[in-house]
Every structure is written in structure tokens, then in C-alpha cells.
């Protein structure tokens, strides 16, 4: 389970999903600077690790954070860690751009 969280993009993705009730790959790709294809790959890894739950909604699949294996500490790590990743990325853009 922790292995699935080793990637900063996955943590950012998990944090983005945790901010809303449920999200689709298309919605997440519009929020994050990665392609829908890449989003789907990470969502699959997170779902396989039991961190995300998939549910079908019409023609789309919505993803929701699984509360169970994601203990309070881990969800804090994912949410707050994701915020720092965003802040540091913004700082990097500022000083390289």
C-alpha cells in the first residue's frame, strides 16, 4: 500500500480525489498537469493497492478514496504531502521561469 504512494503524482492525485466526493479520470486530468492516459495508469495502481474504490456512473467510472486501508495518518500524509508538492512545484516554476 505504501509503495503505491511512493510517487508524488499519485499522492497529488489521491489528495485531489480526497477533496471531492468522487472524481473521473477526465476531471482529474483537467486539474493536474498530466494526461488522462497517465491519470488512468496511476488510478489503476492506486485502485489495485486498495486505496481507491471504482464505481460506474453511466458511461464513466468514478473514483472515490477508500476509507478503510487509508488510516487517518496516511490520509493526512496524502493530503498535506500533496499540498507541499504543489507549493514546491509553484516555487520551482517561479525561480526557473
Amino acid at each position: 500500500m505504501f509503495g503505491a504512494l511512493s510517487d508524488p503524482t499519485r499522492r497529488a492525485l489521491l489528495a485531489a480525489i480526497a477533496r471531492q466526493p468522487a472524481a473521473t479520470a477526465t476531471e482529474l486530468a483537467s486539474e493536474l498537469p498530466i494526461s488522462r492516459q497517465a491519470v488512468l495508469k496511476h488510478l489503476t495502481a492506486l485502485a489495485d493497492a486498495g486505496l481507491l474504490h471504482r464505481e460506474r456512473s453511466g458511461r464513466e467510472v468514478r473514483y472515490r478514496v477508500t476509507p478503510e486501508p487509508l488510516s487517518d495518518a496516511v490520509s493526512w500524509m496524502a493530503a498535506v504531502g500533496g499540498q507541499w508538492d504543489e507549493r514546491l512545484a509553484a516555487l520551482e516554476r517561479r525561480f526557473t521561469g
Binding site: M77, V80, G81, W84, L88, A90, L91, E92, R94, F95
Partner: protein, 140 residues
């Protein structure tokens, strides 16, 4: 098992998941980085920091409002503060700025949850909204 917390596992002093560590090298002086990280638009959209031990700290964004206090501010090397959203336990944030040669600054960020900080600092938990905890802990 916990080495996913930081990009450099050998820098983790205490293997606990209640702690977030990040490091970044920036092509800027410490003063330039300090100015950005203590101004509005980075920690939150609006940032009010009284940069003295025990000084008030307010962070406002559309998504959240956090209040807290400054534990230590040593421009341009180190800023440590506590913050919390109303009703939630405060966490401690420490920003360290080190020269990394040739106009490069290494920024290190650590955010830790109270239990972890308790172990580190050995002091009682501060309560956000309380009056005297800030200077008391800062002086410890």
C-alpha cells in the same frame, strides 16, 4: 517501508508517517526564497506573519483559513511556525534555507503532526486559540 516519505531516505531521523519532509534546490538566493515563502501566494493566498517568537500567524485561502503562531523566525535561514484549521489539532511547520553554492538555495520543509512533535520537542501540545502557549513553547 517508510522511505517513501522523503526523496532522500537517509535524511529521515525518525521513521514515522506523521511527518512530511520535502527538499528542493532553487536557483535563487536565500533572501529571494525567504521573501517568496513568507509572502502571500505561497503558504496561502493571504499570509500575515508577525516574524517574532510568539507572533501571530494567519493564512487565508479560498479553501481554508488557518491560524497559528511563529515559533522562530531567523531571516533568511529558518522559519518555524504552528498552524491549524479551526477545530483541528495544530501542526508544526519548519522551513530551512541553506546556501547550496553558486546562487543556489536548498529549501527544506518539514510538517509534523502533534504526536510526532511531542516526541521531538518534549512539550505539551499547544492549543490553537489559546493565549499563552505560543511564547511558552517558543521559549522552551
Amino acid at each position: 517501508m517508510t522511505d517513501w516519505i522523503a526523496s532522500e531516505p537517509d535524511r529521515i531521523e525518525r521513521p514515522t508517517i506523521e511527518r512530511i519532509e520535502r527538499e528542493l534546490l532553487l536557483q535563487a538566493t536565500r533572501e529571494q526564497v525567504w521573501n517568496v515563502v513568507t509572502s502571500g501566494g505561497w503558504l496561502a493566498e493571504t499570509v500575515e506573519l508577525d516574524l517574532v517568537p510568539g507572533g501571530d500567524a494567519n493564512f487565508r485561502s479560498r479553501a481554508s483559513v488557518k491560524t497559528g503562531w511563529v515559533e522562530d523566525a531567523s531571516m533568511p535561514a529558518r522559519l518555524a511556525f504552528w498552524w491549524a484549521t479551526a477545530g483541528e489539532p495544530a501542526t508544526r511547520v519548519e522551513l530551512t534555507l541553506e546556501p547550496a553554492g553558486d546562487g543556489v538555495t536548498r529549501l527544506r520543509v518539514v510538517e509534523a503532526r502533534p504526536l510526532d512533535v511531542l516526541d521531538l520537542v518534549g512539550t505539551p501540545l499547544p492549543r490553537v486559540g489559546g493565549r499563552s502557549f505560543g511564547p511558552a513553547l517558543a521559549a522552551a
